[in-house]
Amino acid sequence: MSNLVILPIIIPLIAGIIAVFLNKKVVITRGLTKIFIIANLAIVSYMTWIVFNSGSIILETGSWVAPYGIILVADPLSIVLVLTTNIVAAACAFYAPYSLSLKKEQHYFYAFYFFLISGVSGAFLTGDLFNLFVFFEVLLMASYALIVLGGDKVQLRESIKYVLINLFSSILFVTVVAFLYGVVGTVNMAQIAERVQEVEQKGVLTAIGILLFFVFGTKAALFPLYYWMPKSYIVPNPVISALFGALLTKVGIYSILRVFTLIFIHEINLTHEMFIWIAGLSMVFGIIGALSTNNIKLIVAYNVIPAIGFIIMGIGIFNQDAISGSVYYLIHDMIIKSALFLIVGVIAYVAGTSDLRKMSGLMHHYPLLGWLLFVSAFVLAGIPPFSGFIGKLLLLKGALTDEKIAIVIIALLTSLLILYSIMKIFIRGFWGEKNTTMELGKRSMKGFIGPIVFLLTFSVVLGIGAEYIYPSIDTISAYLLDPEQYIDSVLKE
């Protein structure tokens, strides 16, 4: 037992509260934000080191022993995701002052930012299903606040759909937790897993699992539950889009990954087989969405969906390679998606429009930005030697080992179209004659580039340096496929 586990949740909470009170003193808040997030990143890095060297860190909050109290569990999967969250958040903290108007900063952006991180970290770290619901509420409430920050008409219009659909799924979530409690008499995930295993997931349990899947699937923006996502992701400021793209849907997919590798694993032929179908449909419809628009922000937002498809595909296939692939892809996608949102944010800023039809020849003024986008396109599509490649390799290997040919073909075609959707921005926006109608070259990119380069460095390292990272991911995958480890670490200590 160690109190360390609470730190990644509580530090952002405290930082958020401080930010509330310092809202008018923007310069101080900016500085403190950077200090807090870097400190948090350092602590999480240290925790990651501990988890991989001496096993999961468990905290029984208030000393109420498992399975009765709320248990926080920093296991290899959750700590790696918290680490990635903090990496993305750090980049956003440095991007925000350049991207946001002073007013938005003063109106509690930094507070909401920290509350969001606190909620996300909590969702990753909790070992309690009801507590997971609570952290979902925290991060959703923070996201509602962020999405309307500024109060534009279009923001309010899109946020109402966002709020309504997410509210519904929250209601469903808490209802399903009640159902599950009715059957197994506990909300501790390890104990749920143990008890579901005991009765071999008989009776109504599979149906409850599927309902839970739909709850998380709505948050994760899976087909056909993602309607709220694309347009609501593009209305706030790019830095907020980046946080959303990297974190929100990923919490949903993490929950599916957790629940369907720990608890509902006794009817794999039914449940996980369906995931593969949903994966294929998410890829197809997501990429069709990305190709359907000339709004560069929307292109990136729609690209969230096929990426989620790739991750769920690995969960569906459910072998060592595929799960490794899912985890790798999850980390990769958190980083590259936020980088891409930040990049298109800069593009829209310097070009003065998000409409691709009105752009051309940006390369003449912003070559560096062009190359960053170019590299990102290949990272996203999983072209070697970048991070997406390793994840894709593992996923496809897992799929082919299990003779799932159709999903492999869909995945490959989707990759090609993902590349096409982003290269469209490069070819039409950056290539071509100098555009004289746009006031180009006037707006400076100062301050925007650093965070983007920081994130892309991780994408490159995750690809080229896979030798240093893959063994850890493989450990996570082996750990996930052996639920006893989780159950034992929580209940038998």
Binding site: V138, G203, V204, L225, L270, L393, L419, Y470
Partner: protein
Amino acid sequence: MIFAVLIPLLFACFVPIISKIKHKVHTGFFVFVIPFMIFLYFIRFVGTGFSPIRDTYNWIPSLGINFDFYLDGLSLLFVLLISGIGTLVVLYSVYYLDTSERLGQFYVYLLMFMTAMLGVVLSDNVFVLYVFWELTSISSFLLIGYWHFNERSRYGALKSMLITIFGGLSMFAGFILLTVITGTTSIQGMIEQKDIILDSTYLPLALGFILLGAFTKSAQFPFHIWLPDAMEAPTPVSAYLHSATMVKAGLFLVARFSPVFSGYEWFFIVVSSFGIVTLCWGSYMAVRQTDLKAILAFSTISQLGMIMAMLGFGTKVAVFAAVFHILNHATFKGSLFMVAGIIDHETGTRDIRKLGGLISFMPITATLALLGTFSMAGVPLPFLNGFYSKELFFESTLNLNEGMNGVTNFLVQIVPYLAVFGSIFTFVYSVYFFFGVFTGKKNLDKLPKKPHEAPVGMLLSPIVLVLGVITIGLFPNLVNGSFLAHAAQSVNHAFEYKNIQFWHGFTTPLLMSLIVVGIGVILYLTRTKWDAVYRLLPGNWSFNKVYNVILQTIDTYSNKVTNAYMNGSVRTYMAIILGTTFIVTLVFLLVTDGVTINYDNLADITILEISVVLIITIAALGTIFSNNKLAAILILGVVGYGVAILFVIYRAPDLALTQLVIETVTVALFLLCFYHLPQLRKRTESIRTKSINASVAIGFGALMSLIAISAHSSNWFDTISDYFLETALSIGGGTNVVNVILVDMRGLDTLFEITVLGIAALAIYSLIKLKKNEEAD
């Protein structure tokens, strides 16, 4: 060896710095050194006593991805082409590209390509091969789009990227399959285990995936369409990537995997038929072109088809002819591209209809073109290398092995005729290329520039290549034993060295050559009369159209499909989400036999409960059907109070209190902002929509009830709540268990629920405040 592969890439990092002084020294002079050094490094391996070398560097050993370089005869042939032609192309580019161009970028891309291509041909590890393979596609994309202010360049770049990366991804899948089958990532390892591969049920799939990669890269019919558009690249690039090296990567791949697949009859059928069709189609299409580079592009397609066909045949003669022709094609086609570049550079046009009679202005260029085109046409002269390989090709078509498959036997019958058919057109366009440009009428007034001979530097590279054509033509055995034989041996392990001779009697292959020349001359002389025929087929129909239509369709349909369901209506979204959840969960509930209804342990139902429930139900329905918003709000309150009464009945006073407070506050809030709420409108939806919505709503509600009942009926375990009752006082120190749970046992939940409320308050405050501020401005 890794150094030889990576040095261009490393050097590329310095090119942007060097290019700063491009106005003093052309950047190309610095770059020139790199391929030349690589060429010198590899040329020392040439010799009869050569045996393969292997060199391994770890990259991602835990995934089996390592730089396993394997230099055998086949790789040696390719690395010499890449570095040799690379040297000449860089030299040529110095004179072709003006210092006002963005030279830094150009050479960075070119060097990137060099590393990639060397990597492709040297990697024994399939995944590293794939990494380099995609890198060639990327650098090719950048080079085609070098002059990106041209619409055609952008179009060509995108097309080449989409098609070659499509193939690359497919090949990647093929590689993973082979890895899964054999458990190794090494190509040589796979060759050793070829029996396992040949027995695998995945064999057709793996072969298909890999061939798709090879065919797209090597511009085989019908994927050839990207190559003509790739001609938008600067001519040195066309000469280098799109005729001598990159497009041969597909051939390399097929050659590399021949030892694995050659025992499989469908390998022969697919590869040979694609090759032979490409040969015919390419040469036929080349005749119709008017742009010099387009002629060469289609000619390249056709020649690649020919080599592909020979690799498909897989016999000793065919394999030798294939590697021989890879070398020969690089020499004559490379020089011809450079010639086309010179003509373009010196006259300002590449349109063969405008050109003519240039021989008197450009005698040296004309000589080079003459030798190049005649070698390409396979004219039987003892100093043209093209003739030898063409002759060997004919020979190989004649002695193919009959197989067990009907398709095989049919192919064996028709291949010689198709070979002759395709070669006739090759002859025609080759002759046309030379005579159309250099002889005939001079129409100087149509030319944008006054033509004159190219500078010496520009002529140097094509001269070297044409000297190669002649040297190999005169002394074919010079290259034969020293490295071609090794190359052939790595493709077909049974290959044995044989001397090449110009004259081997009056044989059928020679007869075929003579037929080609005879009919070719007639067709050329009467070419104006055939125009109508050429126009007839393919007419308006082409694979280019298919590509354009596909992209168009993606554009329009993706828009239509997406707009069809993303219509912005929350009602539609909810209907789909609820409908899907309902159907899928219901199926799972029924399939897993999840419905359990158990009447034990239930409280009695009295008239009181029934009437409360009835009131709630009626009130809920009332909210839906009410058109008056005030009424709707109040009726909604009834539902809430009804639930509170149920709590009272089932003895949960704290819940009842909470529910009452919430309900009162909600109704009060609703009434407070009543004025601002929009008017309820009568929904003008069709009966169909209404009934769908109704059934989704009812179905979902029923499903939830069913699951709730089933869940309640299957309480197989003791709940943890007993523990709370026991310990609330002893550990928690409180007599009210609910309180202890809220503030102690699950205090973390409460802390964050409070946070949620805090965030909500702050969000609303910020929303109002920010709005106000903006209004004040």
